[in-house]
Amino acid sequence: MIKNQASRLLFVLLVFQTMLYAQSEGMVSIKGSRYLPLYGRDSTVVAVKDFEMDVYPITNSQYVDFIKKYPKWQKSKVISLFADKGYLVNWKSDTELKDSEKPNSPVTYVSWFAAKDYCECQGKRLPTIDEWEYVAMADKTTKDARVKPEYNAEILAWYEAPRTNENTIGLHPENFWGVHDLHGLVWEWTLDFNSVLISGESRKDVDKDNNLFCGSAAVNATDLMNYAAFMRYAIRGSLKAKYSMKNLGFRCVKDIPNEFNSSF
């Protein structure tokens, strides 16, 4: 009898625990850790906390919903401080995509300001570079596949494919975390993309970027992985927040409240 009650209690506890922090819809949880990114703080390991990430990039149809709710992001209403002229050029009106665009393709031609506000309006945020790269270094079976030649070769093959922004989401297999399309579909905005201190004039306007492009890090970059990652960092370094690009979309992440965060 007592044993029965105890096991019932245990059962209730177990059920309750999973209910305490229910995973958000369309997101998967990512278990944080320390890792060595291409460009870390002091070129050393960075710590990533537990968080949740969208399984797919935001699609055109999700963006249509957003824009109907928040008209200030419609292309005729958006202010020039927050988006350049290319913003949503592939839309035929404020709320409609051109007929050639697929609802299930990733939304592109969006500025950082728009992407940031989209996520915030869903109670989420953009991922940091460190978070994005952390999830993106996984392949189907391992968290850190960067040492595997086939992982790198696959990414580079995807990078070579043209006009991938016209594809639909979910065509690439999910990775270890259950996240799709980090590579091979579109580039993605990150919250702190402007922390990549490389630009045409980096020797002039930045006080010390020798731990970025010019210095030792670049010289040490020997394998293909670094080449793919270099491309991503170089693109981030070349962006401005109001730019809208054909092959640049985004996805959101969400913090896991501290009491459920087990990594630190």
Partner: protein, 238 residues
């Protein structure tokens, strides 16, 4: 049950609107009376005749004429006064950037524990100030924004101001939130990265804004010739 649902969804909508839909007040046709849904169900959509909103069925309200008077004062699209982030000054006041309206702004982003470039950037700011005639200073505001809001509290900024003899009227120091700072840096196309708990790498940019908050001039680099910057400021404060 059904009523509850409706009430609930209306509630959600109000919350959603107040939370994120910072009102976009754009110029609209002035001559005729225009009507708009009070809930802005269709955004800024205007109607020429009174009636009810096709989405929520509420009566359309005439759009107030008052906005017309405001128009001369209106913030342009490219103005930094569109940003709604909140900041604390070195005096502990809470402000938004639009509270700085009316003066020519010379802005730079620094952090006070910086040992390398910031002292020189701050010196550059002081050099610029020194070249401006006294009578122009009243129309000017030199604003130093911290990229390290965690360390640079209003108290610390005040101490820094006193220490560097930058505590006069024309100097303002701002502490923001992490996301507010990141957003503002992006407006200036300024890059920065925390490289250790006390150190940042960052671009060295001094930006000049006119009284409406529109970016007029940027000076990049350390110890560069500030003639263009000074000329721009003199032109703006004439």
């Amino acid at each position: 049950m059904k009523h509850l649902k409706i009430i609930f969804s209306v509630l959600i909508m109000t919350i959603a609107f107040t939370a994120c839909n910072s009102k976009t007040s754009k110029n609209t046709s002035e001559a005729l009376a225009v009507y708009q849904c009070p809930m802005q169900c269709e955004g800024d959509k205007m109607y020429r005749v009174a009636g009810s909103c096709p989405v929520c069925n509420m009566d359309l309200k005439p759009v107030e004429k008052a906005s017309k008077v405001l128009e001369t004062n209106e913030i342009s699209e490219a103005s930094i006064f569109n940003l709604t982030s909140k900041w604390h000054t070195e005096e502990g006041e809470e402000i938004q950037l639009k509270d700085l309206k009316g003066k020519t702004l010379v802005m730079v982003m620094i952090y006070t524990s910086c040992k390398a470039a910031c002292p020189r950037l701050v010196a550059d700011m002081r050099n610029i100030e020194a070249e401006i005639p006294k009578e122009n200073l009243k129309d000017l505001n030199f604003v130093l924004i911290s990229i390290d809001p965690e360390t640079d509290t209003p108290e610390r900024l005040k101490a820094f101001a006193i220490e560097n003899l930058m505590d006069d009227e024309q100097w303002t120091f701002l502490q923001g939130t992490e996301s507010g700072v990141r957003e503002f840096a992006n407006v200036l196309a300024m890059k920065y990265k925390q490289i250790s708990p006390i150190d940042f790498s960052h671009s060295n940019i001094i930006s000049v804004f006119n009284t409406k908050g529109e970016l007029i001039h940027q000076q990049e680099g350390l110890g560069v010739n500030n003639k263009d910057t000074v000329d721009t400021i003199l032109e703006l404060t004439q």
